[in-house]
Symmetry: C2
Subunit: 223 residues, 2 copies
DNA sequence: AATCTGAATGAATGATCGTACATTTAATGA
DNA sequence: TCATTAAATGTACGATCATTCATTCAGATT
């Protein structure tokens, strides 16, 4: 990830001419904003270009077709999401409880979990059912994520005395996170990220009360 | 609801001329199928008309504009959903556990929970973030449903010794249902309605193990 | 039967939008 | 300084599609 997305840096104006990668990233960010603002079906290349402050011909120059731009945007979001949770997991401790805590927190990382990004995800989700390419890239099909979560749940279940199907538990936990995102988008009187995270932890605590309460993993400093 | 949706009744052909209500319903059903098959953004009036075996001019005759057709379709789905859960609730017993059981089962009623309908819901959801009209009609904003579910959870929590926030619990349960629907749509190797319902009950059992297991409410005949 | 009403058709229209491309502009290197 | 290369622009074209409307047609009314 060439992270050069700092063109609005105060002081000197953005360069008229930019490297291929930087311009692509700028256009992708503009696409996310446009989808969030106007919806997928009403997003036009002119809109995207206007958001980026560029001419609409440039979009085709960098992405050949509109479909190309949209696909690349979804790939960008998927990769970003993946980077986010893998990094969080690496930084976490060895115990499954700490790892689940880290994973859930990473899902509400303010860098990832912005209004525009959630809206865009939501829009792609809506289109995914009839587009195999989108379907593969949408969250529920991130095999690594699912396997990791199932593995953590398996280890957590083993630490409790009670029986429980780790696959179903992992599914409920994943789904709860996705659902809380949807709420933040579609509910008219939505709650904020703090309440969202508490809801996710409420779910984790229901399955693993020995390890969690609605603030996160037990036995940690609280803010 | 004038329920005249039986035009494909074998034997005599469908009447060339139909009452206003019946034709509208037929076109709405065709819209649901079209959205499911081609996605929201690629749905055209010609597609819809072709699905219904009618001319595309007729759509405007009955619904003035394309937006009108789509809005009416969403209203139709919302009303259908509402009818479904309220009927299920009325038929249920008085105890909160039986009522939650009935509510969850109604969400997977095969009449409501078809592939086409789930796809259509999903598509509207994706567009809802930037359309207040859609936003109001989408599931998470059904105040009656939310209040009912919260009320049931409050009574269930009262029956257990443990503490617990009924609002958050109700939210997790609602979200799990929605999430399972999404899975059935967007996952490449999706599971069926049976496993979906079990997942929903797994969630209910996590909060109310005295009342539920992953097959539903306890103390009932099983199939 | 004749008339009337409103449903249904499909060709014509006009607007929107993606794509192509000729032209302009900026940076790089000789 | 000039030449070369790549980025960026904006006009023009063509396709798609929602909408309109004159016309046709079926059923009801008299």
């Amino acid at each position: 990830m060439d992270d050069i997305g700092d063109m609005a840096k105060a002081g000197q104006a953005a360069p008229r001419k930019l490297s291929r990668g930087a311009r692509r990233q700028q256009l992708i960010e503009a696409t996310i904003e446009t989808i969030a603002a106007r919806g997928y079906s009403r997003t036009t290349l002119t809109d995207v270009a206007r958001h980026a402050g560029l001419s609409h011909g440039l979009v085709n120059f960098h992405f050949q077709t509109k479909e190309g731009l949209l696909t690349e945007t979804l790939k960008y979001l998927a990769e970003e999401y993946r980077q986010n949770w893998t990094a969080a997991l690496e930084a976490a401790g060895a115990s499954p409880a700490e790892q689940l805590d880290a994973l859930l927190r990473s899902d509400f990382n303010p860098a990832i979990c912005t209004n525009a990004r959630l809206s865009a995800w939501c829009a792609f989700w809506g289109e995914a059912q009839c587009r195999p390419m989108y379907q593969d890239l949408c969250g529920s099909n991130d095999d690594d994520y699912n396997r990791t979560l199932e593995d953590i749940c398996t280890r957590l279940v083993a630490e409790t005395a009670r029986p429980g199907d780790p696959v179903r538990i992992a599914r409920v936990i994943r789904i709860t996170t996705e659902g809380v995102w949807l709420d933040m988008m579609t509910m008219t009187d939505a709650y904020g990220p703090a309440e969202a995270m508490r809801t996710a932890f409420t779910c984790a605590a229901a399955f693993f009360p020995e390890h969690f309460d609605d603030r996160g993993v037990l036995g940690r400093k609280r803010l």
